[in-house]
């Protein structure tokens, strides 16, 4: 089993993350055992056993590209239609024409990618019979609720809350072979919050709501697995291995079925003279929108385009930025600038902008570039003495850069 070996070989580099997987899995088992051992208190013999067995029939093991360096070539998928549409994570696994899925009963079937959406980090793939086209009948005819998850019903149910029991079912570490049931982990929803993940040094594109799970779920092969509530209803799609930039720790998360994220795109609009001009627009894309359109073959991947501009102009002159995290202390404000008009003063410490903590001058610059434009009104919370003051700043246009002094004219 070369693939399993490979993933195990990875453990030392991520020991603190991978090792607990085993603990968590066993403690989940123990919890189930404990429940069985007390028939007097538990009305059903085992409240999780049936749930897990039913859910397992609606999940598949996915095999695709990878198997080299640190990329695994196995993952998990969620069946969401009677003719074998599978929701999974938009990972490198799908970069192949040889996509294969194993059904719960061990059937080995080919699959093909319909469409992916990196902004949501989800993909829709579909089971395809050999020699047939993707849109031709594959004869699967799965039963709603039994053979596949009722996606619309799951969306209607809404998100779960912190403290709700959840089950994660994945093919983590490729432990489940062919017709073996997927690995189950139990935990609670630790938090339902905004994603703040990063993969390596890149910021993760999805920044919408996310379930943080109190179980070590996000390991190789788990991506695309199902996060279920205690009754086995679909809540989310288990994500990748990511580090949380808030804490610099590995994150166990799932993208909610109801998840949505904002992105910036370019649109062409007519200005007041009737001329076409490009403008930036903040749009939203959601998992339900993706799934609904993708099932109909109508979904088009969004074009994300960031204007990397200077952002709005505040006119604050900061103290020299010499430390790793130089706090955003105001040294001076440019006369007549937005900051001046708003009443910012030397020695004020810019601590929050629109509620977002500003840990350093660098963070402030990044925030301005990313989230503000000229003309926007933003709320600065500044520390002045022992108290925080809130001031509203209407950002302006950056003044033109002072021209370099011209070389002195050559002497005649």
């Amino acid at each position: 089993m070369p693939t399993l070996k490979r993933s195990l070989a990875k453990i030392p580099t991520k020991q603190h993350h991978d090792t607990p997987t085993m603990f968590t899995r066993y403690s989940a088992l123990l919890a189930v055992v404990a429940a069985v051992a007390t028939p007097a208190l538990a009305p059903a013999a085992d409240p999780f056993a049936d749930t897990v067995e039913n859910a397992n029939k609606k999940l598949v093991k996915v095999f695709g590209a990878g198997g080299f360096s640190r990329l695994n070539n196995y993952g998990t998928g969620i069946l969401i239609s009677s003719d074998g549409h599978i929701l999974t994570v938009a990972s490198q696994l799908l970069d192949t024409s040889e996509l294969v899925v194993h059904m719960y009963d061990g059937q080995r079937l080919k699959a093909q990618v319909i469409v992916t959406e990196p902004l949501l980090d989800v993909a829709l793939i579909k089971i395809r019979l050999d020699g047939k086209k993707i849109d031709e009948d594959n004869g699967l005819n799965l039963e709603k609720g039994k053979g596949y998850f009722d996606f619309d019903a799951a969306v209607k149910r809404g998100p779960a809350a912190p403290g709700d029991w959840v089950l994660a079912m994945t093919n983590t570490f490729e432990i489940a072979l062919r017709d073996e049931p997927l690995s189950v982990q139990r935990g609670v929803v630790s938090a339902y919050t905004k994603m703040a993940g990063r993969r390596g040094i890149f910021e993760f594109p999805y920044s919408g709501d996310v379930y943080v799970v109190d179980a070590i779920t996000n390991n190789p092969g788990a991506a695309g697995g199902a996060l279920l509530d205690k009754k086995g209803e679909l809540l989310g799609i288990i994500g990748r291995e990511l580090k949380n930039s808030l804490t610099e720790t590995w994150m166990n998360y799932a993208i909610p079925i109801v998840g949505k994220t904002e992105f910036k795109e370019k649109v062409t609009v007519k200005d007041k003279d009737g001329k076409d001009v490009e403008e930036e627009k903040t749009s939203t894309v959601s998992v339900p929108e993706f799934v609904t359109l993708a099932l109909q073959g109508k979904y088009k991947q969004k074009k994300r385009e960031e204007f990397i501009g200077q952002g709005g102009y505040h006119g604050i002159i900061f103290v020299p930025n010499i430390l790793e995290r130089t706090p955003a202390y105001v040294e001076d404000v440019a006369p007549g600038s937005p900051a001046d008009k708003a009443g910012l003063r030397p020695d004020d410490l810019v601590s929050f902008i629109d509620g977002e903590p500003i840990i350093s001058i660098k963070a402030l610059d990044e925030y301005m570039k990313k989230h503000t434009r000229p003309g926007m009104k933003v709320r600065f919370e500044v520390r002045r003495g022992e108290a925080l003051q809130t001031v509203e700043v209407e950002l302006g246009q950056h003044p033109p850069k002072p021209k370099l002094p011209l070389p002195p004219p050559p002497k005649p």
Partner: protein, 726 residues
């Protein structure tokens, strides 16, 4: 009839009961265990949530270096996240307790948001509890909700535990993040923490560990039994091993913290006599100068029998009693001094110890001389001994503090070493000597000084009286000897001593027996049980009646077993002239030594010690590069065996431990000036000097990662041959 509460009451039975009370609606036939527990968990979280605050910081560093207080060789460091952290209200008038980890990157500004209050507040650090890695903050707020404390006495393993934190969700009016587990153990980290298997990480450090009925067990902190500092234990985050400092303890120390003074560990300043801290009685082996123990009047040799009314049967019990204590805590100690029981009350613990500094007289003793008295082999120039007029060949008969009416008699070298270990530099001593010429007995006075960091250029030979086996009289041990016997009686078959032309003592007695054959030269040995090999080089002139020094060579990565010929050749002449045995254990991995190999290496070393007559004052761990790091590690972790550590091109991996009187350790450190590590090597040296260890440092010119140059090698040999200088 007496009813007892069953100790093993299943915790989740209680959970269900609580859940049913909290949510009567669910008490219908259809409710199941999962509904009940879910409701109970959420209710517990909701009860404590108003007291769990969000902490945001600005400024500070991106990474926190691994070594405590920013010292020591640079470690990997931990990246500090940019997200908020968590704190817990401990007093309604604006005091918040949190984990010191959250401020380890030294932020310039701290802000606190209290649930239900929209305004962020500026917070100030009041004080730190350095023993439990907590930080107390103060905000300008009133009527804050203080959570209910779970009494320590009621905490039982198996009870449900939830860890709550504020990092993940920016909105403090949302429920805090939750992780579920149980209480895994109590009284962990020397009695300072409750252990849980709920996940603990920067997500909830500073947050609370909460019972299923919404009372607070304690505040979540990273902790480790192996290391100290703000970041100790962070490496195993989310690993099922988490810790919380009991809230009851925090509330008890809160008044002191509020005064704005950092709380430090309370130190008694004693070290055990032996290495067995579990079975041997807790006899004081050494007392740090000016420590709580020294001030109280405890003495080396006292057997501690009781502390604060609790019987103490071994040193481990003592450590557990001392573990949770703070500076200025007072102890009542009972000891046995001889057959007299003595009580010391109000022994006030100190927060720091003065490092033990070895006192130095300035003589090198003649070895393997059963005494009485100690013959002087060499007098160090400019030493107190020289100033007092001690000459080579004189015999030191009595030695002790000048305040005593008569200095105590000295039987042999071990007794003289033990005597000086109890004296601090600066002490005036009286020394009775029997002169070499004419045997005239004189008493001289000298003032002890700290050991200098120099090496004699040439030491006179012979170094041994060749009567190593005479001192051992197993059948008739002196009963009321005021000094401990040589703790390391040499072993080996009886044999002739070398007839060397030196002044022999009067009671010369040379038992003639058949010479058993002793293996000499370069030999390869195997530790059969472990399947490991080591080599040992014994000089051809080996004589069991002459005690030998032992140099344990830790090879460089990948050189295991390959360098035995070379090393034994290198040391050949020295080994014969100065009586040393050289051995080389072999690392298990090609990549080099691992700290976990210490135990097997020490076994090999002990095997050699058992077979040959080894002078336990001259056992040296010696290594280069990775081998040098191992030498440092083994030296500090097998202090009953090693008396010297000599490294080249190596840095200290961990901060150095304390200098202890009865387990002295001397260092010889070198590096090439072209070695990229030289800065760190110098830093390692400085750390050792700070701990007042005797350190010789040699920076080799025009050298990179080579072994010693000729001059440094000579210095090293002379250093190794003078480890028993007094």
């Amino acid at each position: 009839m007496k009813f007892t509460v069953p100790k093993t009451a299943r915790p989740w039975v209680a959970v269900v009961a609580v859940a049913l009370l909290a949510a009567p609606v669910s008490a219908q036939p259809k409710s199941d265990i999962n509904d009940a527990t879910e409701k109970a968990m959420k209710a517990a979280s909701a009860k404590v949530a108003p007291a769990i605050v969000k902490i945001e910081t600005a400024g500070g560093t991106e990474t926190i270096t691994g070594a405590p207080k920013g010292k020591g060789p640079p470690g990997a460091g931990i990246r500090k996240g940019v997200g908020p952290t968590t704190g817990l209200v401990v007093s309604a008038d604006g005091y918040i307790i949190s984990s010191a980890f959250n401020f380890a990157n030294k932020p310039t500004d701290i802000f606190v948001t209290v649930p239900g209050r929209p305004q962020r507040l500026v917070a100030k650090i009041v004080a730190n509890d350095q023993t439990r890695m907590l930080t107390l903050l103060k905000i300008d707020a009133k009527d804050l909700p203080v959570p209910e404390t779970f009494p320590k006495k009621d905490v039982e393993v198996g009870q449900w535990g939830l860890t709550l934190g504020r990092t993940l969700d920016n909105n403090v009016d949302h429920p805090p993040s939750m992780s579920v587990g149980i209480v895994s153990a109590t009284n962990r980290i020397w009695g300072k923490a409750i252990q849980t298997d709920a996940k603990t990480s920067p997500v909830n450090y500073g947050g609370s560990l909460v019972s299923i009925d919404g009372r607070v067990y304690g505040v979540v902190v990273p902790a480790s039994t192996r290391a100290e500092g703000e970041t100790a234990g962070v490496d195993v985050y989310d690993g099922g091993i988490g810790f919380a400092v009991p809230l009851e303890d925090i509330l008890a120390s809160l008044p002191r913290l509020k005064e704005g003074k950092d709380l430090r560990r309370g130190l008694l300043g004693v070290s055990p006599q032996g290495t067995d801290v579990y079975n041997a009685p807790p006899v004081i082996g050494a007392i740090q100068p000016d420590s709580a123990a020294a001030r109280a009047g405890l003495q080396v040799g006292d057997k501690i029998i009781e502390i604060n009314g609790k019987p103490v049967s071994n040193y481990s019990t003592l450590q557990h009693i001392m573990g949770p204590l703070y500076e200025s805590d007072e102890l009542a100690i009972k000891v046995m001094r001889g057959d007299k029981e003595m009580a010391f009350k109000g022994v006030k613990l100190l927060g720091t110890t003065t490092a033990y500094v070895a006192a130095y007289f300035g003589v090198l003793p003649m070895r393997d001389d059963p005494g009485p008295g100690v013959e002087v082999r060499f007098v160090y120039p400019k030493s107190p001994a020289e100033a007092a007029g001690i000459k080579v060949g004189d015999r030191i008969m009595k030695f002790g503090a000048a305040t005593l009416p008569t200095p105590p008699a000295i039987q042999n070298r071990a007794a003289l070493i033990a005597a000086i270990q109890r004296l601090a530099p600066g002490t005036e001593v009286k020394v009775e000597v029997k002169r070499k010429d004419g045997g005239k007995v004189e008493t001289v006075q000298a003032k002890l000084v700290p050991a200098p960091d120099d090496v004699a250029e040439k030491l006179p030979l012979p170094s041994s009286a060749g009567k190593a086996l005479e001192g051992v009289k197993p059948k008739d041990p002196p009963k009321k000897d005021p000094f401990p016997k040589d703790p390391f009686p040499p072993k080996g078959p009886l044999n002739d001593c070398d007839a060397q032309d030196e002044k022999k003592d009067d009671k010369k007695e040379e038992p003639k027996k058949d010479k058993p054959k002793i293996e000499t030269g370069l030999m390869t040995r195997a530790n059969e049980a472990l399947g490991r090999e080591y080599w040992v080089y014994v000089p051809d002139n080996y004589d069991p009646n002459v005690s030998h020094g032992l140099i344990v060579w830790f090879h460089q990565a990948g050189q295991g077993g390959k360098d035995s010929e070379k090393m034994s050749k290198t040391f050949e002449d020295f080994a014969a002239d100065n009586h040393f045995i050289i051995m080389g254990p072999k690392a298990g991995a090609e990549a080099g030594w691992r700290p976990t190999e210490t135990e097997v290496v020490v076994q090999d070393v002990k095997a050699v010690i058992a077979q040959y007559t080894i002078d336990r004052t001259r056992v040296v761990a010696h290594g280069q590069a990775n081998g040098g790091e191992m030498a440092f590690y083994v030296g500090f972790n097998a202090r009953d065996v090693f008396r010297g550590v000599c490294t080249t091109g190596a840095t200290l991996g961990n901060p150095p431990k304390e200098n202890i009187a009865n387990q002295p350790l001397a260092f010889f450190i070198s590096g090439g000036d072209k070695d990229p590590l030289i800065k760190d090597i110098v830093e390692s040296k400085n750390l050792l000097i700070e701990k007042r260890f005797p350190v010789i440092f040699r920076e080799m010119k025009e050298s990179g990662k080579e072994y010693f140059d000729q001059k440094t090698f000579t210095d090293f040999l002379n250093w190794a041959d003078s480890l028993d200088r007094i």
